[in-house]
Amino acid sequence: MSAGSEDLVSPSVADLRTRFAGGVRRVLVSCGDTIVYLDPARAHEILAWLKDDPSQQFDYLTDLTAVEYRDAERPLEVVWQLRSLSRRQDLRVKVELAKDAPLVVDSVYDLWKGADWLEREVFDMFGVTFRGHPDLRRILMWETYREGFPLRKNFPLRGHFSRAEQTRQALAANPEAHYSLEELSIAAAFAELPDDMKDRLARGQRGEVA
C-alpha cells in the first residue's frame, strides 16, 4: 500500500481536502482504488456532502463493511464503498475506530436506505454500533446469540463455546424465543396468550438457557 502518485488519486480527494481540511486524515491508493480515511466524528457530514454535492454525486452505496487486522494494535476500520452511477466513479471511504473505546460511528441510513441491512450485519459480526440506525439488531445470528461477534479476530474459528456446550444450548433453546419482542408487538395478542406460553416467551426474550 503506498501513498500513490497523484495522477492515480480520485479527483474527489482534492475537493475533500479543500472543503474538509481537518476531516481527511490520509489518502492511500491500493490496486488502483483510492482510499480516503476520515475523522470518525465528521464522517457522516462528509459522506452526506459526497452524496449530495453536484460535483460528487456518490448516490450509490455499493457496500458497507468493517475490517479488523491481525495486528491487535491496529484500529478497526469501517469501510464504505461509494459509487457515482452518473459519473461512473468509485471511492472507498474509511474511518478508524480505536479498539479500547466503544466502537461507535454514525449511521448513514438517512442517506442511503441500502445501509439498513449492511449496518446490521456489521453490528452483528463486529459489534460496531451505528448511532441513529432505526432497527439495529442482529441479522445473521439469532437475537439471543451470546458468544460475541464472529468476525472479530479474538473470536476463535469454532466459537467460544465447546461443541458439547453449543449442542446443549441448541437442544435447550426455546423455539419461541426466536419470535422477537417486535413481532409480539405486531401480533398485539401477547396479553391473550396462556400464562405458561407467556412465561416461556419471557424467558426466551432474555436469551438465558436453563
Binding site: 500500500m1 491500493s30 490496486c31 488502483g32 482504488d33 482510499i35 448516490d59 450509490y60 452505496l61 455499493t62 457496500d63 463493511t65 475490517v67 479488523e68 487486522y69 491481525r70 495486528d71 469501510v79 464503498q81 452511477l85 461512473r88 472507498r92 442511503w112 436506505k113 441500502g114 445501509a115 439498513d116 441491512w117 449492511l118 450485519e121 459480526m125 442482529r138 441479522i139 445473521l140 445470528m141 439469532w142 464472529p150 468476525l151 473470536f155 474459528l157 426466536h178 417486535e182 413481532e183 405486531i186 401480533a187 398485539a188 395478542a189
Partner: protein
C-alpha cells in the same frame, strides 16, 4: 366490524388502432370498491411464512402483518443458512477460498469462481492469458443462463405456470451436462485458479455448446409466447412490487432489479472486466420497475448471453492449444512431470502447496455482473498467504433488503410474487 375494499387488478394486453399495447380489464374483474365483510373485526393478523416453504426459495422466513388480505408490514428473517464463509476465508489460502464461493450463490457457482480469481489477481497484479479470458466469459454466461432459467421456472411455478418450468429445466440440464463435462461437478465446480483455470474444456465441449446456442433461443421463444402476453401472468406481475429508479439506487439494488427500474448500469458495460467491452451485446433496461419488467429484463438477458456465448466460441476457435494459465511460477503449479524431475519446479510446487501464494500488502475490491446483481469480493491482505478479510458483497442480500418496501400495501399472494421476482439465493444471503 369494519369494511374494506379489494381491488382486483387483472388486466390483459390488447392492441389499439396504432398497434401499441394497451391493457384491457379482464372479464372477471370485480366491480370497483366492492365492500368485503371483514370477519376479523379490523384486527391485524400475523402470518409466518417459512423458513421451510417452497415459495420462499430456500430458508427465508417472512413474518407478515395482515389487515384482511392486505399486507401492512413484512419482516424478513434470515441467517438459517449462515456458515461463516467470510470467517473461514480468513483461515485459507486464496485458492482454497474458491470452493467456498461455489456454496454461496449455488445457482451460478462458475461465475462466483471467476469473480474470486479476478479479485485475487487484481490484488496480486497477475495478467491472465487470452484463452483463459474467453473461457471465463463462457463460464460467466453459462452461469447467467442457468441462473435465469431457474429463476424463470420457479417464478412461473410460484405464479401457477408449471409447464414452462419443465421446458426451462430441460435446457438447464443441457448446460449442466456441459458444465459437468468441463468441471466434473454440477454444483461445486471450483473451476478457476488464481492466474488461470483448473482445467481446459474437454473434447466435444465446443460443439456441444454450439448446438446449445443454436437451439436454445427456440425454447426462449416458446416461453416468451407463453408468458409475455399471457393475461394471468400480466395481471399478477404488471404494476406489482414497483420501485422507482431513484429508490432503486438509494436501496443499492443491482443487476436486473436495478435495470428493471430504468437505471442503465451493467458492470460488464460500465466497469468492463474479462474484455466484455469487446463483445457485442445489449443491456435490457425496463421502465416501470415492476415484476413484469424484471421478467422482461431477465428474459432478454438470456438472449444476450446466448449472443456473447456465440462470439466467445468464435474467438475460442482461433485460440486452439493456447495456454490457459499465466506463465507465473509464483501462482501456477508446475506440471506434475516437471515437479517430479526439475529441482526449481519442485521448489515452486512445494512453496505453493505448503505456504500458499503470498499477496502483497494492500486491498482490492472487484465487482462483477452476476446473474443476481453485482457480486463484489473485497480482499484485504497483510502480506501473508491468507487474507485478513474476505468480504462478499452479496447481491441478493442487498436486493432482499428492499422487500419490506416493495410489499407495502400489496395482497398476500403478491408477497410470493415479489419475493420470487427479487431472485434470491439463501446460500449467498446467509453466507
Amino acid at each position: 366490524m369494519s369494511t374494506r375494499t379489494i381491488e382486483v387488478g387483472l388486466r390483459t394486453p390488447g392492441l389499439d388502432a396504432s398497434g401499441a399495447v394497451t391493457l384491457e380489464p379482464l372479464g372477471v374483474r370485480l366491480p370497483e370498491h366492492t365492500p368485503v365483510q371483514d370477519d376479523l373485526g379490523g384486527e391485524h393478523m400475523l402470518v409466518n411464512i417459512g423458513p421451510q416453504h417452497p415459495a420462499t426459495h430456500g430458508v427465508l422466513r417472512l413474518v407478515v402483518e395482515l389487515d384482511g388480505e392486505t399486507v401492512v408490514r413484512v419482516v424478513p428473517h434470515i441467517g438459517y443458512l449462515h456458515s461463516g464463509f467470510e470467517k473461514l476465508g480468513e483461515y485459507r489460502h486464496y485458492n482454497q477460498i474458491i470452493p467456498l464461493t461455489d456454496r454461496t450463490d449455488y445457482l451460478s457457482p462458475m461465475a462466483n469462481n471467476v469473480c474470486l480469481a479476478l479479485a485475487a489477481e487484481k490484488l496480486m497484479g497477475i495478467e491472465i492469458t487470452e484463452r483463459c479470458t474467453v473461457l471465463r466469459v463462457i463460464a460467466c454466461e453459462i452461469s447467467r443462463i442457468i441462473s435465469h432459467l431457474v429463476w424463470l421456472g420457479t417464478t412461473g411455478i410460484d405464479l401457477g405456470a408449471f409447464t414452462p418450468f419443465l421446458w426451462l429445466f430441460q435446457q438447464r440440464e443441457r448446460l449442466y451436462d456441459l458444465q459437468e463435462a468441463w468441471t466434473g461437478a454440477r454444483l461445486t465446480t471450483s473451476m478457476t485458479r488464481v492466474g488461470g483455470l483448473m482445467a481446459d474444456i474437454p473434447d466435444g465441449f465446443e460443439q456441444g455448446l454450439r448446438d446449445f446456442c443454436r437451439t436454445f433461443p427456440k425454447t426462449l421463444d416458446e416461453v416468451d409466447s407463453m408468458f409475455t402476453r399471457n393475461a394471468i401472468w400480466c395481471g399478477r406481475t404488471q404494476g406489482v412490487g414497483v420501485i422507482s429508479g431513484p429508490d432503486a439506487i438509494n436501496y443499492s439494488l443491482s443487476g436486473p432489479m436495478l435495470r428493471a427500474s430504468g437505471v442503465d448500469y451493467d458492470v460488464r458495460k460500465d466497469r468492463p472486466y474479462l474484455g466484455y467491452e469487446t463483445y457485442e451485446f445489449d443491456v435490457p433496461v425496463g421502465e416501470h420497475g415492476d415484476i413484469y419488467d424484471r421478467y422482461r429484463v431477465r428474459l432478454e438477458e438470456m438472449y444476450q448471453s446466448n449472443r456473447i456465448l456465440e462470439q466467445a466460441l468464435d474467438r475460442l476457435a482461433g485460440l486452439k492449444g493456447a495456454p490457459i494459465n499465466a506463465s507465473d511460477p509464483r501462482v501456477i503449479l508446475p506440471p506434475k512431470h516437471r515437479a517430479m524431475s526439475d529441482m526449481e519446479a519442485m521448489i515452486f510446487h512445494f512453496k505453493q502447496v505448503m505456504e500458499g501464494v503470498k499477496a502483497p500488502v494492500g486491498e482490492a475490491y472487484l465487482g462483477v455482473e452476476n446473474p443476481k446483481g453485482e457480486l463484489g469480493y473485497y480482499f484485504v491482505s497483510d502480506g501473508t498467504a491468507k487474507p485478513v478479510r474476505w468480504r462478499v458483497r452479496p447481491p441478493s442480500f442487498i436486493n432482499l433488503a428492499c422487500l419490506p418496501k416493495l410489499c407495502e400495501g400489496v395482497l398476500l399472494s403478491d408477497v410470493i410474487a415479489i419475493n420470487a421476482s427479487i431472485d434470491i439465493v439463501m446460500g449467498e444471503i446467509d453466507r
